[in-house]
Every structure is written in structure tokens, then in C-alpha cells.
């Protein structure tokens, strides 16, 4: 079975500073990886995804994640955060042929003015 580990439950960071949210997944022959963002009392929004091809994937709001097969990681990064980035971020994986998304426990990003 797939598993996803988000090592940090909370990450405080000052506005305009860089941030990295860490995610490690259990190894599988073929795996798809995702980052979702959740604002308070709302559903999850897909931030970015890795399906195949280029190992660096980007979102429209400045986040990027890099698929690292040797380290089984898919860390999320942003070079300069904004107040509006304050939210909870979930890393998820899906094995080939599986219907199930396996989620990490989430990382709460707090951007400090």
C-alpha cells in the first residue's frame, strides 16, 4: 500500500521569504504525485501534479515541486511567499491502476507579516 509522509505539521515563515514543504512517498513501480491546498473550512484545490515527464512541475501561483525518484520525495517550494499562501498543504500519491489517493497528514503554512 502507498504511504505519504509530510514531516512538518506546521511551518511558520515570514512574508517574502522562501519556503519548502517536505513530502516523501513510499516507493512504487509507477506513482503519480500531487499537492493540494486547503483554505479554512473549504475543500481541497489541486495545486500541481506529477504524472510523467519533466521532474519539475510548476503551478500558476509560483509554487513548484520536484519529483526525486532516488529520494522518493516530492517537496513543494516557493521562492517568496505571500500572506495569501497561508493554508494547509497536502501531498498525495496514487499508484498506477489504483483509484485511491493516499494523503499525507498535511502541513499548515503560516505566513507572518
Amino acid at each position: 500500500a502507498q504511504s505519504v509522509t509530510q514531516l512538518d505539521s506546521q511551518v511558520p515563515v515570514f512574508e517574502e521569504a522562501p519556503v519548502e514543504l517536505r513530502c516523501n512517498y513510499s516507493s512504487s513501480v509507477s506513482v503519480y504525485l500531487f499537492w493540494y491546498v486547503q483554505y479554512p473550512n473549504q475543500g481541497l484545490q489541486l495545486l500541481l501534479k506529477y504524472l510523467s515527464g519533466s521532474t519539475l512541475v510548476e503551478s500558476i501561483n509560483g509554487f513548484e515541486a520536484e519529483f526525486n525518484k532516488s529520494q522518493t520525495s516530492f517537496h513543494l517550494r516557493k521562492p517568496s511567499v505571500h500572506i495569501s499562501d497561508t493554508a494547509e498543504y497536502f501531498c498525495a500519491s496514487r499508484g498506477a491502476g489504483s483509484y485511491q489517493l493516499t494523503f499525507g497528514k498535511g502541513t499548515k503554512l503560516s505566513v507572518i507579516p
Binding site: 505539521s9 503519480y32 500531487f34 493540494y36 473550512n41 473549504q42 475543500g43 481541497l44 484545490q45 489541486l46 501534479k49 504524472l51 497536502f90 496514487r94 483509484y99 485511491q100 489517493l101 494523503f103 499525507g104 497528514k105 498535511g106
Partner: protein, 112 residues
């Protein structure tokens, strides 16, 4: 474009009462549908998924059931709620040929 609707947004129910949460998807046909539960500090857990009308798969034994009476409708039910059923319930959909899933706004259920 596709949209997913989930209601109600919040619900407070007494222990032992029944439950019905509804989810509908618009703008697509034959979607895969999912119910997840999010408990504090525990991430999201897949409860049920469906690949077609009347086809329901359960991922974990529990006090809840799911039904799919129409192609784009997915219902989560319980005959008698338990305190442990409290949580944030999220419906999601995906295209059969695509990998990513899209989520509704969720229902905050509090069993008292």
C-alpha cells in the same frame, strides 16, 4: 467546465440520528466519485469510491454507507450516527481516463 456541489456545508446531529450527505457533479459524464473523511491531525481517508451507477467500493469498515443512484450523484448515509463519525467529509470526482481528482467544498459534521 465541471463543477462539484456538496451539501450541506455544516451539520450538527445527535448520536443515533440518521445521516444523508449529497454530492453532485456537473459538466461531465460517467465520473469516478469518491467520499473522503478528514479528521483532525489525521489527514484524509478514503471511505468509498464508485466507478458507475450502483457500483460502490468500501475502503474501510465503518458505520457509513454510500450509494450512487444516478451517474453524477453520490450519497453518503448512516442509519445511526456515532460520536466518532464527526469530521469533515469531502466528495471528489475524477474522469475515468485521468489521474487527478477534484474536491467539493466539504461538509463539517458534528455529532453531539
Amino acid at each position: 467546465s465541471q463543477t462539484i456541489h456538496q451539501w450541506p456545508a455544516t451539520l450538527v446531529q445527535p448520536v443515533g440520528s440518521p445521516l444523508s450527505l449529497e454530492c453532485t457533479v456537473e459538466g461531465t459524464s460517467n465520473p469516478n466519485l469518491y467520499w473522503y473523511r478528514q479528521a483532525a491531525g489525521r489527514g484524509l481517508q478514503l471511505l468509498f469510491y464508485s466507478v458507475g451507477i450502483g457500483q460502490i467500493s468500501s475502503e474501510v469498515p465503518q458505520n457509513l454507507s454510500a450509494s450512487r443512484p444516478q451517474d453524477r450523484q453520490f450519497i453518503l448515509s448512516s442509519k445511526k450516527l456515532l460520536l466518532s463519525d464527526s469530521g469533515f467529509y469531502l466528495c471528489a470526482w475524477s474522469r475515468p481516463t485521468r489521474i487527478e481528482a477534484f474536491f467539493g467544498q466539504g461538509t463539517r459534521l458534528t455529532v453531539v
